[in-house]
């Protein structure tokens, strides 16, 4: 019934790419949209992942994910030929792609994955693309080559200076916003904290800013309200109204708090999965 893994690549210690058969979604999806994935229909979690790319002809979509908890750990353990339990989508509003002039694209960590299809489409629409990619350290920079292909200018920064410039993405962003060629739009995708600070910088220079929010989700169709955030004083559902919003209006602090609501249970589930794997491993060896 599909969802078969066609290729698998490890991009860094905890980041993986899967190309998965999903012909209807491959055909219907647009940049900026995501899917909800579940490994176990009986008792598992449903997690949202951006569609990082798609091949409508081959009927495959590409997912790039970071191993952070139980479900992503389970996914990382799947091999080519195996099937992902279920995939549903495409979900969310597509990115509004338009020729604006100069677009600065800022990616942090795993945020590079959802950023790539947007940057690619913005380039194809005729925009000048300046890309800033940031990560804690060199090994965590993903998709640099892909961005190099579509960017007119590419800046890489690392927190520890192990690669590119040392520092945070906000620094080159501030230089660009304050420079002569003031961008017409900033697209910022990464950890919540990063999006918050980038939005503060762009606000100072009055550069319109799009962020892509990664709230916790259940259904992805507007039915549960679990993904809600406050944007400009109004309640919005990230899964249907987003995931992209005006970064100058999002209440990031609240979003970050809601994101950590289940921390202790998530850790328990993850640990139980690791223990379980470990026990199976022991059995095999003995």
């Amino acid at each position: 019934m599909g969802n078969r893994i066609v290729t698998k690549k490890q991009l860094s210690e905890n980041v993986f790419t899967l190309e998965v058969e999903s012909s209807l979604i491959a055909k219907a999806r647009k940049p900026g949209q995501f899917v909800i994935v579940g490994i176990d229909a009986e008792a598992g979690e449903r997690i949202p992942l951006t569609i990082a790319g798609a091949d409508a002809e081959a009927g495959t979509i590409t997912l790039i994910f970071q191993r952070v908890g139980k479900t992503t750990a389970q996914m990382a353990d799947l091999e080519v030929g195996q099937e992902i339990g279920y995939i549903v989508g495409p979900l969310g509003m597509p990115t509004h792609i338009e020729k604006l002039g100069t677009v600065v694209c800022v990616g942090g960590g795993i945020g590079n994955a959802p950023l790539l299809p947007i940057a690619t489409a913005m380039k194809a629409a005729g925009n000048k693309i300046i890309t800033i990619l940031g990560a804690r350290t060199k090994e965590l920079i993903i998709l640099e080559d892909d961005f190099a292909k579509i960017s007119d200018e590419l800046i890489v920064v690392t927190d520890d200076g192990s690669y590119g410039r040392k520092g945070l993405v906000t620094e080159p962003l501030e230089e660009i916003c304050g420079g002569d060629d003031k961008p017409d739009l900033a697209v910022v995708i990464g950890p919540g904290v990063m999006m918050k600070f980038c939005s503060q910088v762009t606000k100072k220079y009055d550069v319109p800013t799009q962020v892509s929010l990664n709230t916790i989700m259940v259904d992805g169709t507007g039915m549960c309200g679990g993904c809600r955030v406050e944007v400009g004083g109004e309640t919005k559902f990230v899964c249907v109204d987003g995931p992209e919003f005006d970064g100058h209006k999002v209440d990031f602090d609240q979003m970050l708090r809601r994101l950590s609501a289940y921390k202790s249970q998530e850790q328990k589930a993850h640990q139980a999965y690791l223990d379980h794997k470990c026990r199976i491993g022991l059995k095999r060896n003995s």
Partner: protein, 490 residues
Amino acid sequence: MTDSEKLLQDLLAKQQTEKLKPKDRYEIPSQPMPAQDGVVRRNNIEEVATGYTETQARLEAMRCLQCKNAPCVAGCPVKIRIKDFVTEIADGNYGEALAIIKENSLLPAVCGRVCPQEVQCQEKCTVGKKFKDVDQAVAIGRLERFVADWDKNEGSIPDVATETGKKVAIIGSGPGGIVVAADCRRAGHDVTVFEAFHKPGGVLVYGIPEFRLPKAIVKEEIDVLGKMGVKIVCNFIVGRTRTIRQLMEEDGFDAVYVGVGAGLPKFMNMEGEQLVGVYSANEYLTRANLMKAYQFGKGADTPIAISKKVAVLGGGNVAMDSARTAVRLGAEKVYLVYRRSEIEMPARVEEVHHAKEEGIDFRILQNPKRVLGTEDGYVKGLECLKYELGEPDDSGRRRPVAIEGSEFTLDVDTVIVAIGNGANPLIGQTTPGLEFNRWGNIVVDENCKTSLDGVYAGGDIVLGAATVILAMGQGRIAAAAMNEFLQQDQ
């Protein structure tokens, strides 16, 4: 022999010689529904009401006066021949009773459990009227459940007519969708049900909890569809994965039924609703039921708030289900905050009764003003206002009015908002030409046909949040119209 068995025997013996008189029937005590103990059941998710025994069922059925005009039938939205099936039960002919029910209702095991009988069939019952107490009416729903459960192992598969070659798409696998699928398949059409979630059943699986409607019952009904040759495609969101237009123009579907339910949670738009620990009932119940959060750490990994003190806002079935689920997830104190009085509560009377037995603290004529949070963004309390009843409003119910200065705070760590659902806009946004009213519900004619040819709709997306039996009733009407449309189209 128990007293009940003895009574039944005496009555049967008496019937041998003469017909029972109304007086004899009035003397039969109304049979209570056996239920799990209120304290024990706080700690399990098993069904609360355990069902009539055969003796109880026959005694209850004998209470029916077999009224000539059978007023009860008018109270049933699908017009089940109540008098006739109850008579069969009294005579011990359960198979015949079930066959009569199935003429009009395809899901008796479900409706017998969840219909709000006290405002439908049982409200009109002569016996209840005689005692001036609807609780004394013939327990039609319980009898319906009894025969449906009795049938458990004989699950018959309806006959399917010769293949017509026509394709029918059903969007949403709730009770309405299930009924349309069965009726269209019986007519020989090639039927596919598309469901957004990873399991079929609609509200019957993600909303109504296990302790009120065991999921095995719903699964059986879905399995019957499968055996009839209905295709069920989960993880398929019409409007996203494919649009209605694509289904009809590119994928060859000749007719479509839209049964997508309500599915847009209402919030109160009060301060503090974004705090961690505030849920819509939809999210809370979906996590708990569909995704089995009650088994967290024991086979499931769906997280849910670990609550000590919970406030549920609302007075309908959804609110009762949320409150009773919270109890089962281990909350020590659960408040149910409702701004009108108990008579106005839209929930089924039995659920209100069960909720009270389970220790839920009813706070009627109270309404929240804002949610109070800790510094790091978690719920720490609910500020409420006291209310009193004023003049009747549009709905004929007396309007609740806030008493100024009556603020007080409930000490809670979780708030579940269960004040109803609006219509999910997805189908509207992706189906040009489909007509909606100003509340976002699909407009249909008396045959459940929409403004688009070949497209029919029913259930909550048409009626607003309604009931299982109303969704099924519309499903029947729609299926009949669709079958006729497909025949003309030949």
